[in-house]
Symmetry: C2
Subunit: 371 residues, 2 copies
């Protein structure tokens, strides 16, 4: 399915302002997508996601395949119906990242990956065809080709073998994709920190032809500079008229840096994971609300924030909820953190419009790092 991506503006620095279409409407990029791992963005309702101005959300194929199973979701009419998320698109990943990071398989062949479920140890075999079949049943609006996600670092030799395998998997996946009319299919560029392999992976993936392109394998252990280079090595070989999706990146500064390198959409568990550990994102850096210094603090997390949490709750109360292990505290922080990132993306869009994103970055980083 063509997402009718329109590149509205491109800054000299590389940042892109764009929009794409689904049956849910027109979606503006750059965009951050919250993660609903198990068909729910942890602690939040669909209405709260809307209040946070979330648009596309992500669900994990690996997790849903294992539990409740794609047939259970299909029985409900797909993810939108199953989880009652009806205000925006859903994207599913291919399962690759979770298979390689959670199940740590030792048996990877060209055919597919043998591994054991991280839940009950059951033996499983995931292939590019099966990944697409599962995603067809999950019924998200945007789905991903199955890829190998090698750890960092691996040898150039291994990585070359790996990307060639991922390219052949991408072809096989595309061939069985049965819902072209309702699901956009993205290819995934891998290649680690090797410029020639990122280039090769990008070129070969584009050759196959997809509705958008993901950049994978970033943010799995490398330093900040390497991360950015991994993006830079790939983007010159991606078509300008397709969405570019940087997978698993959500740190505020990384989002800005990704946008500067031409990325349109991002996803990360960061806002909800931070919330579960009592952390709030603020323009002055992360703060941990469990800290005793907030015991009597009647201010909200951020005066300038328009989220439900900041409009209604004090640091003192949120701290109490966290210390008393009340899940409502995690929910309040999740709302704030997601809104923080969607607001950041709005500011980014505004600064692309004005072609001032590099200045915005400088100011943002200064404030964020010098709390």
């Amino acid at each position: 399915m063509d997402l009718k991506f329109k590149l509205l503006k491109e800054n000299s620095c590389g940042a892109r302002l764009g929009e794409f279409q689904t049956k849910y409407g027109v979606h503006r990029t750059p965009m951050f997508m919250p993660v609903g791992t198990q068909a729910t963005v942890k602690t939040l309702s669909p209405e709260e996601l809307k209040m946070c101005f979330s648009d596309v959300i992500l669900a994990n194929t690996y997790h849903l395949w294992l539990r409740p199973g794609e047939d259970v979701v299909d029985n409900a009419g797909g993810l939108h119906e199953f989880m009652n998320y009806k205000t925006g698109p859903i994207l599913t990943d291919c399962g690759g990242f979770q298979v390689f990071s959670l199940a740590k398989p030792k048996d990877i062949s060209d055919e597919g990956v043998n591994f054991k479920s991280h839940i009950d140890g059951k033996k499983l075999f995931l292939t590019p065809e099966l990944s697409i079949e599962i995603q067809n049943k999950l019924g998200a609006d945007i789905i991903m080709s199955f890829d190998e996600c090698p750890p960092f670092p691996v040898s150039h030799e291994y990585m070359e073998k790996s990307i060639l395998r991922t390219i052949s998997w991408a072809k096989r996946g595309k061939k069985v994709h049965s819902k072209n009319d309702s699901q956009a299919l993205f290819g995934i560029v891998q290649g680690g920190e090797f410029p020639d392999l990122r280039k090769l992976s990008a070129q070969k993936t584009v050759e196959i032809g997809f509705d958008g392109y993901s950049i994978g394998g970033v943010s799995v252990g490398e330093d900040a500079e390497t991360k950015l280079k991994m993006i830079e090595y790939a983007t010159p070989y991606l078509p300008k008229d397709k969405l570019r999706y940087l997978m698993g990146v959500g740190e505020p500064i990384d989002l800005i840096d990704g946008v500067i390198r031409g990325i349109d959409i991002f996803d990360c568990v960061l806002p909800t994971r931070l919330a579960r550990h009592g952390n709030a994102l603020t323009r002055d850096g992360r703060i941990n609300l469990r800290n005793a210094k907030y015991t009597l603090d009647l201010s909200c997390i951020e005066e300038s924030c328009d989220c439900y949490t900041c409009k209604n709750y004090t640091k003192s109360y949120i701290r109490h909820l966290l210390v008393a292990e009340e899940t409502f505290g995690q929910r309040l922080l999740s709302i704030h953190n997601i809104r923080f990132l969607t607001k950041l993306m709005d500011d980014i869009k505004l600064n692309i419009e004005k072609d001032t994103l590099l200045d915005f970055r400088e100011e943002f980083v200064k404030k964020y790092n010098n709390k």
Copy 2:
């Protein structure tokens, strides 16, 4: 503070239709109050409580005294401000029940109770004066006298000593209550399963004079028949023009039976506790949503229910959330269970109006017990 309780109707069976006033408006009885143990009704927002048509909610003095401490709540301007509950009154209990059930003190004197915190083992001493002082700081609209809650069963001799102590504690508490203008103070009737002691406790407590009367020590281990008798032994000695509050009772049939015996308000952790264990209340009895038979069930919990959960979510999805340990599942069940009880209380009011409560009970019990 006078709650201006008006007895609007009394059925021959004993059930009372009434109303009382606070600055939040007029509140109709019989009423069920959800419990916000630690200044939050577990997993729910104030807006969701309102959506469930909750009115008065309860918070626990013992828990809030220990964590975050009454001064932290006072610093925010009291519980309403602290927890952002601004649409209805709050009631605090006296701490007695938790001290006796959680901390299991061995050192009870006429002066007060020595015990250790169930959180960190810290030595604490709670007196009737301190209980009221804490409750004055918590700032609820209705507060309770400090009482001893003996286990069940104890000897007649012990219980007599205990109620005389509770009566002397009630006098001492009333004397130090410093917020008569904004907080109604209730006395608590104890006496276990002994008719003469329930009578004595009720008479002596009424003699002191309170804004309402609680019946305590019911639902701590006795059989159903004994429970009901404990209420019946006390109510004839309570004034008709004051609220009668049965503490810690929330089982649907017990609520109906309490109303039939002249009770106006009830509280219980039941709806939220059941939710955390995957149970939903329905007119056909309790069901456990973790059951595999709901895996593909696309119906809602109860077709006739008007709650957010039943309007939007299937059993299949809720089951998935529970099995996957997503807190959103507990939240959806908490919403349903609380709405179930507030709806039950509305049906009870309607049947008192029509003087058909005994028939309603018969039908309800038949359906509820024969799932």
